[in-house]
Symmetry: C2
Subunit: 423 residues, 2 copies
């Protein structure tokens, strides 16, 4: 499994936030452990320390459902793989925390060698910083006065915070807010890869914005980002490679123009899980913003990889939803307790881990439906099963915590502090 074995020592990664440690200790002192019941609710487990978990010896199959679980061996292999390949390709990893929203995973990413993390929203940045992560790039332009002020407040306390901007008007607002706060803000220009979703057009507009950022008081230009979200899930490695290199060519040219103009181009950030082993071919590219690689999901596995054209298996699925069968009274199917509110309705639908010949559907809000075609096994009422998730980002956003599992044992409970932080 751990081909690029990193041997992460969880205990060596200190929690910077004393309040958490306090609560954790408080938890050990005051929470009762049910002695006879096999089945632990999230409320019962939420303040268990790793030591206490170790003593209690809880199996994944004892957990209340639906529960979100992450397999530590697989997660660690995924962390190592991204680091190994990016290093080999002469670039860095700056993983996107919008996927996991979990400070503990951000710590593991930093420990694995990442140069920082990305966040999509300022509220995610605040949560990550509150929990000890201090190298943060906010990839989304903040456009309202209050969010700009929050970003600059964060920068005041977090020297390694970098903010994206995508318009001259926005750059001026950032400069004013930074000046008012007596700081100098680190800024990257967000360049549109042609999706017309966020960012400024590549070429002259982006160059002029970079020059403006360079000239405005209280701003420090660090370079650009160009996230080609539309290419990440293109099916087939060669098609994906062609599309993203085509789309990023204008951004790479812009970096060249900036360099010629004497501007700072130390950051040319972009890419994702689908293009992590392609992006380094862009001239001047510095770091990959991959997010999903930590967990993987059915959407990514379906796109095919460089070596395995059927399944994209550069990274392996670590994230599962544990669910219980509620009803087995009808021929050829069972009903589970994990529907749309536990799985989302993203497709390809969740898949039962380790089994074949059955189709899962999470289209109903409260219930999942498992249809048996030519099943490797069947399930009876009360039995539990693990689902590989459809699309990891929005699934994680439904849960307050995930259970970190190794060899079927609960090794830790990780709070998803960024859950619901969409603002």
């Amino acid at each position: 499994m751990a081909r690029f074995g990193l041997n992460i020592d969880y205990k060596s990664i200190k929690m910077k936030n004393n309040r958490r440690r306090f609560l954790s200790n408080l938890g050990s002192a005051t929470i009762m452990i049910p002695s006879l019941i096999k089945g632990y609710t999230s409320s019962e487990l939420q303040h268990f320390s790793p030591e206490r978990l170790n003593e209690t010896n809880i199996s994944i199959w004892d957990l209340d459902t639906p529960s979100l679980c992450v397999d530590l061996d697989i997660l660690e292999a995924n962390l190592s793989k991204l680091q190994a390949i990016t290093t080999q390709n002469g670039i860095a990893a700056r993983p996107h925390a919008k996927t996991h929203k979990c400070p503990q995973i951000a710590r593991l990413q930093m420990a694995a060698g990442s140069i920082g993390i990305c966040v999509a929203k300022i509220s995610e940045a605040e949560v990550m910083f509150d929990h000890g992560i201090d190298k943060i790039l906010c990839t989304t332009t903040n456009v309202t006065q209050d969010k700009i002020k929050r970003a600059m407040s964060l920068k005041k306390w977090c020297p390694d915070f970098i903010q994206a901007t995508d318009s001259p008007a926005n750059a001026r607002l950032l400069s004013e807010a930074a000046s008012a706060m007596g700081i100098t803000a680190d800024i990257v220009v967000d360049v549109d890869p042609g999706m017309h979703r966020t960012g400024i057009p590549a070429g002259e507009p982006a160059l002029q914005l970079a020059q403006l950022v360079d000239q405005l008081p209280s701003l420090r230009l660090r370079g650009i980002l160009c996230y080609d979200g539309g290419s990440q899930h293109v099916s087939g490695f060669e098609a994906r490679k062609k599309q993203t290199l085509d789309r990023l060519a204008a951004a790479a040219d812009t970096v060249g123009m900036m360099r010629k103009a004497g501007l700072n181009t130390e950051i040319f950030s972009g890419g994702g899980t689908g293009t992590y082993n392609i992006d380094h071919e862009n001239e001047g590219f510095t770091d990959v913003q991959a997010g999903s690689y930590v967990f993987m999901d059915n959407q990514y596995m379906a796109i095919g990889g460089e070596h395995n054209t059927d399944v994209y298996d550069d990274f392996r699925p670590s994230l599962t939803i544990l669910t219980t069968v509620l009803n087995d009274q009808y021929e050829g199917r069972v009903t589970t307790d994990a529907g749309a509110k536990a799985c989302t309705i993203n497709q390809p639908w969740p898949a039962v881990k380790g089994q074949s010949g059955m189709d899962y559907r999470s289209g109903s809000d409260e219930f999942g439906t498992l249809i048996f075609n030519d099943p490797s096994r069947t399930y009876r009422v009360g039995e539990k099963l693990e689902l590989i998730v459809s699309h990891c980002d929005p699934v994680v956003n439904l849960y307050d915590q995930m259970y970190a599992i190794r060899n079927e044992k609960v090794e830790a409970i990780w709070k998803i502090y960024g859950r619901g932080k969409s603002s």
Copy 2:
């Protein structure tokens, strides 16, 4: 608006939970109100009391985004309408709280005349009871030992708690757990309307289960439930009516068989927002479990009503997502901050409230896309707009609180304590 005006006095509805009041007072004493910024984050507002909100005079347009908002005039009209029509039809309302997951709305439903609320999961029941709601029907069979124990623990403290069961083996487990706890549990038999999702088949199997519940020690049979989820969104009133009456015929027959056998049939619960004005035609039917009627959404509006065949307007949309335009640099479109993590990917997609000639898409995790076709207006970066939601249940499940709005003013902040309670 308030055709069935109920004149709910919010202040008369006391909070039963002292901890909340304590936190609310604590909040007033310690939270700083930013003086110059128009823009309030959820963290800043979360402990504002209604009195403080009233003094502060916050407009919906001052809220940080994405935010979930509910229009109180419309909500109250919806509450009154359901109560008026069910009363007129000689049945009761037992609204489903899985939709709103919000104790404050459950209080309003009780104040409007509901005989109780339904919940889909035992964790929802616990949350509702913790916040003062004490007439609760759990419509889902709990199959694991720990959930059965939790349901019976709840019953011990909440005399008006009713639990569904759908198999003889489950009824026996309930009886054992109730006996062990020294209580008598109120039970309804969950009858399958033909969807084969949950419930026991109507007719003999259901009758035998009812007889078993009636005979087992520590159980008290109250009747049946039969939720025909598959008919709620059938397009066209007459088609919907035919389908659901056909599907519920076997359940109604079962109730007749139970009555003939001398069993208690005081509860025959079912139906929803799509069939609330049809269900009373089932012989012996007692109460409607409508959920979405409080908020409405694009999915329900599309099915057509008895009087308006184009739009189902028996109830009106009260729930919106407030979002901000992040980018207006590209022709014919803008990008907003409300994507799949704020809106879900349910369809029909969200619609911009009060506007026409534009299409919203929330298919991207972090961003919404608004395409202008023949727009009634356009939007510039930084401007905010309100979205009518696609499908209310899973949208509510993404937010920790909703802002209760009247005439564009924030009148209250309602915690969605059941958010994420899928277990």
